[in-house]
């Protein structure tokens, strides 16, 4: 950990859509500092036009995502004492998204994909007019609802990280979490399996768990969201027993197995 008062070298990417370079800044370290504090110090003292997104500074809003020493992280939750003293710390924008300026990238891909998800559609209410759900039934979905949309999982996902061409056909881990949250919501009645199977590109994912590794909310994206969705898709579209059962009975729908991780 850098001693309080010692100088830290920050190597920050400066540039825009036309390209850029890393620039070095010397900043005095203070106790408990996080990377975002240091970026703010640079803004206040050396580079007032250094572009960075941030809001809550407490790991809740997911605005300050960047690649710190090559790893996608929330800058507000990355303590400076995480790094070996004396070595420069590089801060770069998320690589998967087009750069706008400095640490700010164009995240519109994620918002476009979110629009394509069919809305929540609850079934009828209970006879007494209430909505009854039990804690054990909502625990899993609440895990998905912890998502702060920092898009670290999206930036680290190798399907799109260096493959711009895959973006139109692939929704990414964030959207799989969203789809899983809707699919496993006790009240929801919308059918999204066709979308999950086709447009969202779930099949592209080969469960390397990179997304799970970087999730600041510790959501088990691969195990609890993606794999159960894959299982549902397989059951719905590729299970020979189900296929035969449908041929024999003429029924379209089958009761899907309850998946839980």
């Amino acid at each position: 950990m850098p001693e309080s008062g010692a100088q830290v070298t920050m190597r920050v990417w400066r540039g825009d859509a036309d390209g850029g370079t890393f620039e070095d800044y010397q900043i005095p370290a203070a106790e408990g500092m996080v990377v975002l504090d240091v970026i703010h110090r640079i803004q206040a003292t050396q580079a007032p036009d250094l572009a960075v997104r941030w809001n809550c500074k407490a790991g809740r809003c997911g605005s300050c995502s960047a690649e710190v020493n090559g790893k996608p992280r929330l800058m507000c939750m990355t303590r400076m004492n995480h790094f070996a003293p004396g070595e420069p710390i590089t801060v770069a924008p998320l690589r998967t998204f087009p750069p706008i300026k400095d640490l700010v990238t164009d995240l519109s891909y994620n918002y476009q994909k979110a629009k394509s998800v069919p809305a929540f559609k609850p079934g009828p209410k209970e006879a007494d007019g209430t909505r009854r759900m039990y804690q054990e039934d909502v625990d899993r979905v609440q895990e998905f609802h912890k998502c702060i949309e920092c898009f670290l999982c999206q930036t680290v996902c190798h399907v799109i990280r260096d493959h711009e061409e895959n973006k139109p056909a692939f929704a990414g881990p964030r959207l799989f979490v969203r789809l899983a949250a809707l699919e496993m919501h006790p009240l929801d009645t919308n059918d999204r399996l066709g979308l999950i199977n086709q447009q969202s590109g779930l099949g592209y994912c080969n469960i390397t768990k990179c997304c799970t590794d970087v999730c600041p909310e510790s959501i088990k994206i691969t195990d609890n969201a993606i794999i159960p969705l894959k299982e549902r898709v397989v059951t719905e579209f590729h299970d020979p027993v189900v296929w035969a059962w449908r041929k024999l009975t003429g029924r379209k729908k089958v009761e899907l197995p309850v998946t839980s991780g």
Binding site: D49, A51, N55, G59
Partner: protein, 608 residues
């Protein structure tokens, strides 16, 4: 060439400025009424400060305590606000909050559940019964995400990272707004029949604050510019429990849910000091012994623990303890839940707090006490609105959420903010749409207003003055923190006004480096202008950085506004016990002159 040809121009029935809970709810409602609606926000969608709300949303759902009801919630809200509240707003809020919470559930929100499968409610400061629907300690995230995802499918146009600088008017009516894209710095013009302001508060003028950069009082300033009234601007709430260590995280919020779930405040002597700070106003309903206080969590016939007094009382008590030398090593007090609840319970109920302290302060809250101290959190004051319609005094201008004043009086109760957002967000959207659709013509845009805004926006690029906007902002924060804090004195308030006057002169000399593309230095400069320390303006302008002025009126000493030389609640006038009548809807001066009600009505739900 008119301004509409020169700048990107859009036309809407209603534009909503701000995309937190209130803005999203207003946009959803306006759109549902058939109005063509745009939502404009400074950050990306879903990042507004609502996301930081932790403890819960207050609504008398009666899932946990059948004894609860809207009247008890109303009473708690009024008493928490030291009866400065607009009673009609408090009534509407208490009556409609349960419907709005259930509506969120209809839209997919998943609150924690009771054993019967209904929405679980938790205890919070100033609430007589466990009343806060919640999701662990991340209720705001659940709420904003639910609203955001609901809004996405409603055909609302969203303008993200777009800052509105000024409202436009035509013959006294709102005719639109103009601002700039943060990404490109280019001007954008909205023509609209109605505008809903949902821009939040002013917290970023304090050094120690739980608020993000966005909280620069934009809505209050813009409303004031077009003739709307501001009221109760001196009422700034300091949340009693913010982090105090390490320095870089100072001010980050520690949810009141820690105390709601059993945590207690202790001083360096290990004493639960809140028992020493129970004001007369709350004595009848507050426990006197630790045994009674601890029993209250399960038995609501007992009296409430003083740890859960309203926030103004707790913040003042902590302030006093620290000044008396009984604070923690880093200038706070201790908040202890580790010794009172088991680790599994703490991690389940307070997952974000657990993570926040572990990662930012190396403290395991299941094993040791947290160090906490007051942090600027919320402004009760703001634009004066009509209770039923959320309309300001300017035709076509509506306001909801923190930017609007009245509901919370002199002090907001925890949990009443999220319910405020959805109750009055909906009403603002509804009435803005009704107003807009009743207008036959789109009001005209005044080229002069747009040109004046543009030239003011671009002026800092031309200025050669050498002032750094970040330094100026830091000096403003220091001034407010040191001179206009929890306990205020007249001499310090006068000094603050002087210093703000000097800052105002320096602001004219701020130079901006770089170009217009995503330039935070320029954005901050414009936000400081919005903060009403604008050169040449009179210091009595009761805008953002000048709330010391109304604070000097000692008659308004109550709730979150304490003058140091006199104890709160010393005089009957400072704590009127009467059921407030329409007087509370009036401006301070009108209120002083209006006849007082004689009836000494007891409020509903008061303990016998």
């Amino acid at each position: 060439m008119s301004v509409e040809d020169r700048f990107e121009t859009h036309e809407y029935d209603v534009i909503v400025v701000g995309a937190g809970g209130a803005g999203l709810r207003a946009a959803i409602e306006a759109s549902a009424q058939g109005a063509k609606t745009a939502l404009v926000c400074k950050s990306l969608l879903g990042k507004a400060h609502t996301v930081m709300a932790e403890g819960g949303i207050a609504a008398a759902l009666r899932n946990v305590w059948k004894e609860d009801g809207w009247d008890v919630h109303f009473r708690d809200t009024m008493r928490g606000g030291k009866l400065l509240n607009n009673w009609r707003m408090a009534q509407i809020h208490a009556q409609e909050a349960p419907d709005r919470v259930l509506e969120l559930e209809e839209w997919g929100a998943l609150f924690d559940r009771t054993k019967e499968g209904l929405i679980l409610q938790r205890d919070f400061g100033g609430h007589r019964y466990a009343r806060l629907a919640h999701v662990g300690d991340r209720t705001g995230l659940e709420m904003i995400r639910t609203l955001q995802q609901h809004a996405v499918h409603k055909g609302i146009d969203v303008y993200m990272e777009c800052t509105i600088q000024r409202l436009l008017t035509d013959d006294g009516r709102v005719s639109g707004a103009c601002g700039y894209w943060r990404e490109s710095g280019k001007l954008i013009l909205f023509k609209s029949r109605a505008v809903v302001l949902a821009t939040g508060g002013i917290g970023k003028i304090y050094q120690i604050t739980s608020n993000s950069w966005e909280y620069t009082g934009d809505g209050m300033a813009m409303g004031l510019d077009v003739g709307a009234d501001l009221i109760d601007m001196e009422m700034v709430q300091f949340h009693p429990t913010g982090m105090v260590w390490p320095p870089s995280v100072r001010g980050i919020l520690v949810t009141e849910g820690v105390r709601g779930d059993g945590g207690t405040l202790k001083n360096s002597e290990g004493r639960r000091f809140m028992f020493d700070y129970v004001p007369d106003f709350f004595r009848a309903e507050t426990a006197e012994t630790e045994e009674e206080a601890d029993a209250w969590y399960a038995d609501k016939t007992k009296r409430r623990t003083p740890d859960l007094l309203p926030r103004d009382e707790v913040a003042r008590a902590i302030n006093t303890e620290v000044k008396a030398g009984r604070g923690s090593p880093h200038g706070g007090v201790f908040l202890d839940i580790a010794s009172r609840r088991d680790p599994e319970y703490i991690r389940r109920r307070l997952p974000s707090m657990y993570q926040q302290f572990r990662e930012l302060a190396d403290v395991d809250i299941t094993k040791e006490a947290m160090e906490v101290g007051p942090t600027c959190h919320y402004q009760m004051g703001g634009l004066r609105v009509e209770a039923d319609t959320a309309a300001t005094t300017v035709p076509g201008l509506f306001a909801a959420g923190e930017v609007a004043a009245g509901l919370h009086g002199a002090n907001r109760l925890g949990g009443n903010s999220l319910s405020d957002l959805v109750v009055f967000g909906r009403r603002a959207g509804l009435h803005a749409a009704e107003y807009a659709l009743a207008q036959s013509v789109v009001p005209a845009v005044d080229d002069g207003q747009v040109k004046a805004t543009t030239s003011a926006m671009l002026a800092p690029f031309e200025t050669v003055g050498g002032q750094n906007p970040y330094t100026l902002h830091a000096d403003l924060e220091a001034c407010m923190q040191n001179l206009v804090g929890i306990i205020r004195t007249e001499s310090e308030l006068e000094q603050a006004l002087d210093e703000i006057g000097q800052l105002r002169e320096r602001l004219a000399r701020v130079s901006v480096q770089g170009n217009r593309q995503y330039n935070p230095g320029w954005h901050l400069t414009l936000d400081l202008h919005c903060a009403r320390i604008r050169p040449g303006e009179s210091p009595v302008q009761p805008g953002l950085a000048t709330h010391p002025r109304p604070a000097l009126d000692a008659d308004r000493r109550r709730g979150c506004h304490s003058l140091g030389d006199r104890a709160q609640g010393e005089s009957r006038r400072a704590h009127p016990r009467r059921l407030p009548g329409p007087r509370s809807c009036l401006r301070p001066r009108e209120r002083r002159d209006a006849p007082r009600r004689r009836r000494d009505a007891r409020l509903p739900g008061a303990p016998a």
